[in-house]
Amino acid sequence: MELFNETNKLAAVIHKDHTLLPVINRLGAKLGFGDLTIGELCAKEGLDMTFFVEILNVFHNENYFPRRKLLDFSVTIVIDYLLKTHRYYLEYVMPEQERLIDLFLTDCVNGCKENELIRKFYNTFREEFISHVSFEEEKVFPYIITLNGIILNSRRKDTLSDQWLGFTIKGFEKEHGNMDEKMFDLKNIIIKYLPPNYDLNVGNSLLSNLFMFEKDLKNHARIEDKILVPKVKQLEKFIKNDE
């Protein structure tokens, strides 16, 4: 397993794995960084270097999980990263997929009935995804930030307003659907079963996009499940013991 560290030049990292491009953007880095190492770039841009390196590694190696190290981060930095990821999905990835799906459908030659199915599947997926994201942004993240605030100011539990009564991260864990599974299905349907009544180049662009998105979603879910949820459980336990 290849692991990156702060002495690596970021340009070399990107040459090795270009799927990291959106990741470094979300972490606050922009291209044009010349020969700067990750450490130098983070110092220059005021970014948390350890977090930067760990997220790159989590993304680059599917089996890598530095449980202990990542649990040391403040929840706010994790949430900030997750929010940026959501924006990236909603404002860039999904509109681009819709554009490609539209192209895909207009190019279909004889009877688009089957291709229409793809659009329906995608639309339902999108709706589900949007509601998942809004739930996180409107409920889960504010809850976590509130918990964190209480601990930082060492206030007691009674300052946790009624709004959050009975809300636990455990409930959210169940809510957390497997969105990447649907992406996988969509890919496989196009690869294996959909009759190729469409422009092949558009089909390939759409597929590449879906592959990228599926990978990104998987990692996003891993960061939520393996970093955020355990971290919040820690906070909840802390507050409970303080009662």
Binding site: K113, E114, L117, F121, T124, F125, E181, K182, D185, L194
Partner: protein
């Protein structure tokens, strides 16, 4: 889906030198069991073998005992024969293995036969749903929950879940809505039988 179910090898040969030598070489092959016999009638001691069976034995001996082998191993998934030649000519003729072959040649040849089993198996399991699986898929694709499928087909919910697992393994499609798309594309259900809201 990967199928790790590799075949068993039965070597029949009256020479201990050849048997022991082959046994040594075959440990490097993709097999889960190697059985060494001197004579075909010893097969009666191994009546319960199932799965894939590769026989390594001289051609004439195999032909002589083919009926016996088919009878004893009627319930196996597939049987194959690799010729074992005692002369030095076979390598060039490319049929079976011969005692002058190198270890590498023998392993290559045996694995080729063993992999052919698995390839056949993958082909079958990947492409064909059983009748019952198709029944289940039809109902799942129309949006029925596992419990409803169980009631409708008069089977237990555990059976439905096990069918669904197999369907997903064979088709490569995991979600219920993905299976609906699959069922329409494969004409297992008609597109008019579903409403867009079923695609959830």
């Amino acid at each position: 889906m990967m199928n790790n179910h590799s075949g068993k090898i039965i070597v029949i040969c009256d020479s201990d030198i050849i048997l022991k030598g082959l046994a040594e070489i075959l440990t490097a092959c993709n097999t889960d069991e190697v059985i060494l016999l001197h004579q075909a009638r010893e097969l009666f001691d191994y009546p319960h073998l199932s799965g894939y069976i590769l026989f390594i034995m001289p051609e004439d001996l195999f032909e002589e005992n083919q009926q016996l082998i088919n009878r004893i191993y009627a319930s196996s998934l597939a049987i194959s024969h690799l010729n074992l030649n005692y002369d030095g000519l076979s390598a060039s003729r490319n049929t079976g293995i011969c005692i002058n072959d190198s270890q590498k040649q023998i392993i290559g040849k045996v694995n080729e036969y063993l992999n052919a089993f698995t390839a056949k198996n993958e082909h079958r399991t990947l492409n064909e749903l059983t009748r019952r699986e198709t029944d289940v898929l039809q109902l799942v694709a129309k949006g029925l929950a596992n419990k409803e499928v169980a009631d409708k087909l008069n089977i237990s919910i555990h059976t439905v879940i096990s069918h669904r697992k197999n369907i997903s393994e064979k088709t490569g499609i995991k979600s219920a809505s993905g299976l609906t798309m699959y069922a329409v594309l494969k004409k297992i259900i008609d597109i008019d039988e579903i409403t867009p809201s079923d695609l959830i």
